[in-house]
């Protein structure tokens, strides 16, 4: 049951039902009231009309001497006491004298309470009306009868009334009919509401089902969007964009994992192949030494790769980054350049240092890694005899680190993907120089984590520029 009311469709329907019920009930009540009032008004008019007819008949049988005079109250008393022959009254008034049930009855009392005229069809135990303070008339309804009570200023009081049980029954029937009609209308409304709610929620349902299929791993699926640009279509667009980004991120992650395992496979293969070869037969110590050396080279490659992967993983995790401290990029670059001088000598490359103070807030260890990756990259790739310029400065853009060489440059097609993880310009593995294919990716990640950006230009010679605003 709880589950039922958590459903939006059911909740919508519930509210709808409540509002519709109030509306229909209000309308039915209004209609009932109007009908009832109308009936009462008709009855009252009929009663008054009947009284008029009676009086006209009373005076018609024995007309007054002067037609234009209003009869005096004594005359009226007299007439009421002796209404005359029944036959002189119109047929519709005969019941007043002959008795029987139904029809309109009349009763008149004198001021002392003695009856002047009580019609034969009047109900038993009819009492004179209670005198009214202001002498006005009032309609009273009791015992299925509606009566017009009136007390004259002279003291003559009258009751004109009739049985209204028939009307009441009719009114009850009308009420019942209204309730029934209202109920049917309500149910029909509910049905319509259910259908409408279902129709309105159907796209959401579709979106939900598609989304759960995507969540289950079907990453290529997308939500179908009709081109109506309504709220749900906009939601669909938002979700599709999210899925697009998510799927791209997962794809990148998958490729990264595949690439990482691929990079690890080759050194593992070398170690396996070399050790199996070594163990197959007795060998000279020199051969064992060579094989062990090969294994060590492979293992060192694996270590470099694993370390790079760890650095990347740490850089990807915001929590493991250290608090930024004030440091100078020039000092860091000096340290790294000193460290890499032997590598430069090995490749016969001159490193020109143009280091002006470049203060910066960041993690000196990570920044040193950026300088090291860019510099060792520049030392390994160009032909020997080249010159590499290592430069730090501060300009309008911010703090700048620049590593440029005058080597042959990099083909334009490789430039956009140069910072991708495991991307190598020549699509070869070539881990030969301890290059894991992650150096530039690591540099990029670190620079971006410092709020900076890194770019490469290559024409005659290659230039890497990291700018920290």
């Amino acid at each position: 049951m709880k589950l039922l009311f958590q459903s939006v469709r059911w909740r919508l329907l519930l509210w709808y039902a409540l509002i519709l019920l109030c509306l229909i009930a209000g309308l039915c009540l209004l209609a009932f009231r109007l009908t009832s009032n109308d009936r009462t008004f008709q009855i009252d008019r009929e009663i008054r009309g009947f009284q008029g007819t009676f009086f006209r008949a009373l005076f018609a049988s024995r007309p007054l001497p002067n037609k234009n005079d209003l009869p005096s109250f004594d005359e009226i008393r007299d007439r009421l006491r002796n209404p005359g022959e029944v036959s002189s009254f119109p047929p519709e008034l005969h019941a007043l004298f002959e008795g029987g049930n139904g029809g309109i009855y009349l009763a008149f009392w004198d001021s002392d309470g003695s009856p002047l005229f009580i019609s034969a069809n009047a109900p038993a135990k009819l009492c004179p009306p209670k005198p009214n303070n202001d002498g006005s008339t009032q309609y009273i309804e009791k015992f299925n009868r509606r009566e017009h009570h009136r007390t004259n200023p002279t003291g003559i009081s009258s009751i004109v009334g009739r049985d209204i049980s028939e009307e009441k029954k009719e009114l009850r029937n009308t009420g019942l009919l209204l309730a029934l009609g209202g109920g049917v209308l309500w149910l029909a409304g509910l049905g319509g509401g259910w259908w409408l709610a279902g129709r309105a929620l159907k796209p959401i349902d579709t979106i939900g089902r598609t989304a759960s299929r995507i969540a289950a791993g079907n990453l290529d699926e997308r939500i179908q969007i009709a081109n109506t640009d309504n709220e749900l279509d906009r939601l669909g667009h938002v979700l599709n964009d999210t899925f697009e980004r998510l799927s791209a991120a997962i794809e990148r992650q998958k490729r990264f994992t595949a690439d990482a395992s691929h990079e690890l496979r080759t050194p593992v293969t070398i170690i396996l192949s070399e050790t199996q070869r070594a163990l197959k037969r007795e060998r000279e110590p020199e051969q064992y030494r060579e094989i062990l050396g090969n294994c060590r080279t492979a293992a060192e490659r694996m270590r470099a790769l694993v370390e790079s992967l760890l650095v990347l993983a740490r850089q990807d995790l915001p929590a493991s980054r250290t608090e930024p401290v004030a440091c100078d990029l020039a000092d860091i670059a000096t340290g790294v350049a000193d460290l890499l001088q032997p590598l430069a000598d090995e490749h016969s490359i001159t490193v020109k240092r143009e280091l002006s103070p470049a203060p910066l807030k960041g993690d000196p260890h990570s920044l040193a890694m950026v300088v090291q990756n860019l510099l060792s990259n520049a030392l390994v790739h160009p032909p020997s005899g080249s010159t590499v310029v290592l430069k730090t400065s501060v300009n309008g853009d911010g703090t700048v680190l620049e590593v440029s060489d005058n080597g042959p440059g990099i083909a334009a097609e490789h430039l956009p993907r140069l910072f991708d993880r495991f991307y190598r310009g020549d699509s070869a593995r070539g881990q030969i120089n301890g290059h894991t294919g992650l150096g530039l990716a690591i540099a990029k990640t670190i620079v971006e984590n410092h709020g900076g950006r890194i770019e490469v230009t290559s024409d005659k010679g290659t230039s890497f520029r990291a700018v920290f605003p």
Partner: protein, 216 residues
């Protein structure tokens, strides 16, 4: 048996070629696709060990191009073990597939199987007139006794035995027994043949003058 190993990682290339040479194969090497394709076109190798990821022409491309001309058995080595990659390799014409890291013994067994299959033989044991050649153990037995043969002599016997009944020319023999780094004179072949005849009987290898050698 002469093999071509195409692998761009110098360490792995060295390890594989050395290992295979120790298994009495004549091994040529190539470090990229271009060089590999050139060698594969030039020489009829008994089998080619091909790495998938190569600079320049990659392994699949190389295979597709080679298959337009030759049916040399190819064993692909690759670090990718996803099913689509394997299908791609086999569809491009690879005869077998091995995922890195692999067991060296398995590589050897698969190479033997490929070479055997390409010469139309089912089992690794060949029996020729009481001389038993075990291609898996690389041994020759005569009357139950192991006959001591040098690697070259064994290679000669195995190659002729795998092509039993047909005449193998001296050039062909030379091509399949010596790798590219060998500059041995071709008359050395006659020395090996005569040594084998001494060990397994004079009639074991017959000479077709002007054509070559054969094992009947």
């Amino acid at each position: 048996m002469r093999l071509l190993v195409i692998e761009d990682d110098p360490l792995l290339l060295h390890s594989l070629s050395e290992g295979l040479r120790e298994e009495l194969y004549a091994v040529d090497t190539a470090a990229d696709g271009e060089e590999g394709l050139g060698k594969a076109r030039e020489t009829d190798y008994d089998c080619i060990v091909l790495d998938g990821m190569l600079p320049g022409i990659d392994g699949w491309e190389l295979l597709a191009r080679l298959r337009r001309e030759k049916k040399t058995p190819v064993l692909m080595l690759t670090a990718r073990d996803a099913v689509p990659d394997r299908i791609r390799g086999l569809d491009a014409g690879a005869d077998d597939y091995l995922t890195k890291p692999f067991d060296f013994e398995e590589l050897l067994a698969r190479l033997r199987a490929l070479i055997r299959r390409s010469s139309g033989l089912g089992a690794s044991l060949l029996n020729i007139d009481g001389v038993e050649i075990d291609t898996a153990a690389r041994l020759v037995r005569s009357g139950g006794e192991i006959v001591s043969l040098t690697p070259r002599e064994y290679g000669l016997v195995e190659y002729l035995a795998l092509h039993r009944g047909s005449v193998v020319s001296r050039t062909e023999l030379y091509e399949h027994l010596f790798d590219e780094s060998d500059d041995t004179l071709s008359n050395l072949l006659d020395v090996h043949v005569s040594n084998v005849r001494k060990k397994l009987g004079a009639g074991f290898i017959s000479t077709r003058r002007g054509h070559g050698y054969s094992i009947e």
